[in-house]
Amino acid sequence: MSVKVGQAAEAPSFAKASRGALGNTQLRHNVRNATDVIRARRAHAVAETLDWPQLRDSARAIKDHVLRHLGAYLEQFEAACTAAGGKVHWARDADEANQTVIDIIRSHGASEVIKVKTMTSDETALNPALEAAGISPIETDLADLIIQLGGDKPSHIVVPALHRNKAEIRRLFMEKMQLQDLGERAEDLAAAARRYLRERFLRASVGLSGANFAIAESGSLCVVESEGNGRMCVTLPKVLISLVGIEKIVPTFGDLEVFLQLLARSATGERMNPYNSVWTGVTPGDGPQEFHVVLLDNGRTGVLADPESRATLACIRCGACLNICPVYRQTGGHAYGSIYAGPIGAILTPQLQAMKHSQSLPYASTLCGACYDVCPVKIDIPEILIHLRSKVVKGHGAPLAERLAMKAVARAFSNGGRLESAQKLVRIAQKPFVEDGVIGRLPGMLANWTRFRDLPEVPAESFRQWWAARRRKEIP
């Protein structure tokens, strides 16, 4: 078993990685600008959808139901897809999935594959594996193309190049597409991508996609997109391979009426994204005549096994929690060290890796709860973050000094007299550290607390003391 989440296992801690991001004012400016735009649009699209709470309730209920019966639904999907002419493969981990994809491409002697944005393939690090096998992956989503041409890493689930602004993209395109001249408007950049990719679309023999939804009753897949590159990839090549996480199942075609209403509004703030494609196996005379689905576990069954955090698998990858998160908005996505950034990344990345890596991510949050409020499938991310923090602590045990300190605190808090003595001590001890009523930096092991936050000064008088003095005044 080699569960892989991009390069997350080798990534530095969030605290360390975020330091670089916080110093990059251009990046922070780009991220703040983009997330401001998307938040305003999402808010508008959600406000006009009067049955939003009911849609969320249904979506979550459907996802919970699927997770309770996942095995049966996957078998139903497999049977229906196979009956419609598709071939279903199962992959325990990233390497197995990548090898399956490589074997299929090799069996057709193809040297390149056109790809529509799939986070799942970023998760399995498919592109490096393809390149090592002598196959060129061509990313066709505009943002993914920007990432690929720039040798960059995705920083957002929906808009992977969100950290890049127009001017940066224009410079990159001119260099990599060898253009003498290119306009400055977003329209010009989109047109350049169209020209660059058109011929590659028309000649490709193998396409690769993910799926937003896998429909159990019919064995169909659904891909949600905007540009038409997704339609190109799932329609034009002779061979299509779809890499799908096992949690993408919905029971029926009819369930799309819930999720398609939630996804676009949450992701881009549109009432509906320009294109949705639904297809089932192979259709004679229309589209790829060979179709493979690779069902990927890669740690998902481990997440499923923990009832307290299982809801993580309900995620439909809309990115709303990233856009709203005060931490993500400061650091951008790269600091998370995972292709899954933001609040959902903070709970998904460490769990997929069985809590063996990325253990700093559950702490990359202020627990403000904004992510829960915007989540279209009502994942209580703060609660799961706390649950995962407790797992990190239990897994390692807290450091000795912290345990001793906690013991002392427990002793002091359990008795009013002891607490008062402790407060007196602190009032004296804090003096050298207070400036304008705030403690900005504490010494020793306490420094960890004040590294990212200020602490208010302990007041001269406790509430108990004030209360006692007041009573003495009133009742002489």
Binding site: R68, G228, M272
Partner: protein, 215 residues
Amino acid sequence: MSAAKLDARQEILERIHHAAGGAGDRAAEYAAIPREYRREGGMAPEARLELFAARLYEYGASVYRCTAAQIADAVAQALTQRRRTAIVVSHGVPASWLPDGFEFVEDNDLSYAALDQSNGVLTGCEAAVAFTGTIILRHGPGQPRRAVTLVPDYHLCVVRAQQIVETLPEAIRRVEEFRAAPLTTISGPSATSDIEMTRVKGVHGPRTLDVVLVL
């Protein structure tokens, strides 16, 4: 399928079984899922039609209204406006929709190159959603091929008033019987929000979408 692959399947299903169990009556549980969201609209037909047209305008599509007898005239008007002369006609388009004075090419398995060089494509649709300005295409025998509605740079779509419903759930029920066929939903022309999160028209799909609205 190799032995290793069979093992992967068994192993994943076993892991799922240990993790989630899967006990209980699946069908009954599914039927009990709460669905309190709007599953039907309440608009009068005229208002529904106006809403659909308004959404299309927002997407930058032109809308040509006509009666069933005037479809060919409306098609001519749209093509003249966009200066399109050589148009691919998808399966399922009746001859009565085609005006004189234009070159219409029937889609007899045209190559991608031929589609790429055409001036555009004319199709009908299966259903439409007013609230989101969405058109639903069904593909397969007797219907437009997916490539035909995708590769040409211009898409002219004929939508009949009775095909328009108010909400997505109503449309999903209308096309449910064709769920095994490929389906494409189209909400405005190809676009992207990838550059600074601003919706920009026209990437890989048809960059221009017009609709003939048959009253």
